[in-house]
Amino acid sequence: MKKFLVAILAVFAVVGAFAVGGKLVIAMETEPVGLDPHLVTAFASHRVLENIYDSLLKYGDGMKLLPNLAEEAQAVDPYTIVFKIREGVKFHDGTPLTVEDVLFSFQRILNPDTKSPAAAFYQDVESIKAIGDNKIEFKLKKPMASALLPNFAGVNSSIVSKKFVESGKNMQLETNGTGPFYLAEYVPGNYMILKKNPYYFVKDQPQLDEIKIVFMPEEVSRVAALKNGDVDIAKINEPLNLKQFPEGKFKIYRSPVLSYYLIGINTTRKPLNDPRVRNALNYAINREAIIKAVVFSEGVVTGPLNPAVQPWALQPKAFDEYTYNPAKAKELLAQAGYPNGFEFEIVTSQRYNFDKVAQVIQAQLAEIGVKVKIALVEWGIFIKRWRESDFDAFISMNSGSIEPDVQFYRTFHTGGSTNVFLYSNPKVDELLDLGRSEVDISKRKAIYDELQRIIVKESPVIFLYSANQIFVSNASVEGFKLLANESLVFLRETYKK
């Protein structure tokens, strides 16, 4: 009898181990702002839409670029990329995906009337055309095929249905993608329900039948909801809260991210227009201490690229300026004519702990006689001042990229669209142009190494740290993984025991 029971239990255990499907409730802090994949800029929209729409390429483990709707991507030469479109893919409404849809999607992105942020990625594309009925070719004005490829994996480059868009649907409210889930219900301010796409082209995916995304702006609510069993998985921003989740009952997921904290400096205002002064701040800042104080050691020191971004990133040790050295800082200040320090203002906002970082910086700089006045402003005011370069310095976060060209070109090139630092250096411009057009990986690496060293030495931006992203789930959740770009694409592989 005992043996019989054991056998039955064993069968149940095996069945349990293979059981997939079910419904997962995930708590997110912010709600999507719009659902048109070609228009959305909000992080929260991207996290939802990447599960509804597909792009030609996608990111896999370790941020590797992988085929997606394109089963092959080939840089034929530095000026030409050819994608072979996967066959047998269907949109959520059951219509098959064709080369026409792919062509239409990029035409829509590039159409100035669409006002797609992704248009900027493809501004150096000369022509896009279909070859036969399963290939599409991009001809580029500049030899930048490899620098362009990562853009094809972004939500803003999603493939939409020509028929659906042309039928006049409001894409900000309705969706029709090829992704693993379709949007079944959206109650603004409350929740979103994504259901399994029965046509999804990857076999055995998604595992879940349904994902309910509930919007909970307050961390205390997400923590309580998780403990109370109201949600299965939640994003946690405050590492201190992790103490509330005992091992065994809960699983903690943490991973480094591409985004990082920084001090941006207006390089045209005195005395910060002097590179020596900016560099002195670099030496006077103890990055490890900030990480300890603000995120309880849940983070890593970062250079111009997060150390996790391989092969491009130089490790923090490569920069002498990252060694905490107040004496050297004072020496540099004296050389620049400020032996007794000076005063400047840091504009910051309460989002993402920016204000806490500012406070630690304030204390650290006080040690070399530099007085920091913190201007804590509301987010709208922050953005306004950021866009108008109306600051001595600010504390913010950069979203980061695995492609150095995407990361650096618009940020540090003279007149670049996010060069709010008003930084201009002919050598840097030259390197940025070279890096963009070079196709040989080792030569590109050398170019970006040099660029990173110059940027740290000149310090229009003082790079600080990258905080870990943290999620907590109950023990029944399996297969959930995090990506450095904070994407939630692995929800398609997640299931509940």
């Binding site: 709600e31 100035p112 409001n170 309580a224 909801a225 109370n228 949600v231 005011i381 953005i383 669209s417």
Partner: protein
């Protein structure tokens, strides 16, 4: 209340509501940052021309006064505008969200009165006793505790002690009334506790005032039972200032649920307003605030009407 009075009150309220709308319009446009800034964030992808096109698309390229004129004109034709960020009609958003806030406010008021009035009465009857002192201290704590703190404490207690009790995940009343009440319990208790302190203090002082009146002594001398004395003679007369306070509080509640709705993830008007302010979604902010002003005006009229029921000496003409 005569019909003429009612019509007069409604007509005289229109300028108030429009004035509120105008002030809000000016104020939200004076705050730095606009919807285009919010869309772009610190990821400035668009070209100058594209950005100008966005301003044009949202009608933000016109002078402020023209924008307000257009808004008024649309209002006259019952076009309440469209959310700049979501593309949804503002009126639909309000209809979706208002019931949640209304329910939260009514339930909070319920908790506030069932806690506040009895405690106030007890304190008044037992004036200067230990019980009175205790109630007054509790009231003081209630008045000085911020709602987000009380909410957080309640969440921690309930999530820890009552596993399985639905704290989060708003369910509409029509779907499941029991679940709805479970989810609404903590947020309305939080708000109710805050309000009950004021109601309790008002009840106490109002009761004390009434208890000293001559007619109370007369009633007592005539041998009216104690419970009738308090319940009928004293409480009824003490109620008028409590009704006024509750009316004002209900209006305050409708506008002041922002913190609690965010904390308990309730899809109400307060949360909609906060989100709209963060996104600089002008049409939503403008209409939500005007709507709240309108509700407060209506509430005031209702409170006036209740006076006449409680105190026949009050006549509205």
């Amino acid at each position: 209340m005569s019909l003429g009075y009612l019509i007069r009150r409604i007509i005289t309220s229109i300028p108030t509501v429009l004035f509120v709308a105008f002030v809000v319009f000016i104020m939200i446009h004076l705050v730095p940052g606009d919807v285009v800034d919010m869309i772009l964030g610190t990821q400035n992808y668009l070209t100058k021309e594209q950005i100008n096109q966005l301003y044009k698309q949202y009608g933000l390229d016109k002078p402020l006064i023209v924008q307000f004129g257009i808004w008024l004109k649309n209002l006259a034709t019952l076009d309440f505008g469209t959310s700049l960020r979501t593309g949804k009609k503002v009126i639909d958003l309000i209809f979706d969200r208002f019931p949640v806030t209304l329910e939260l406010s009514v339930l909070s008021m319920f908790f506030a009165t069932i806690i506040g009035i009895p405690l106030g009465i007890i304190a008044a009857i037992k004036k200067n006793s230990f019980v009175d002192g205790l109630v007054r201290v509790i009231g003081l704590i209630g008045l000085s505790s911020p709602s987000f703190w009380v909410g957080a404490i309640l969440i921690v207690i309930f999530a820890g002690l009552f596993q399985g009790f639905n704290i989060f995940g708003y369910v509409h009343m029509k779907e499941d009334i029991l679940k709805n009440l479970q989810v609404m319990f903590l947020p309305s208790l939080t708000l109710g506790l805050m309000l009950s302190a004021q109601i309790m203090r008002m009840t106490r002082s109002s009761m004390l005032d009434v208890l000293q009146q001559e007619y109370m002594k007369t009633a007592k001398a005539k041998g009216v039972s104690y419970s009738k004395l308090i319940g009928k003679h004293a409480l009824k007369n003490a109620l008028i200032p409590i009704i006024t306070l509750s009316g004002i509080q209900l209006g305050y509640l409708l506008a002041g649920t922002i913190v609690i709705e965010n904390m308990f993830a309730l899809p109400g008007l307060g949360r909609l307003l906060l989100q709209a302010v963060n996104e600089r979604d002008y049409p939503v902010i403008q209409f939500v605030v005007m709507f709240i002003a309108l509700v407060i005006v209506v509430l005031n009229i209702i409170v006036d009407f209740i006076y006449t029921l409680v105190d026949p000496r009050v006549e509205l003409r």
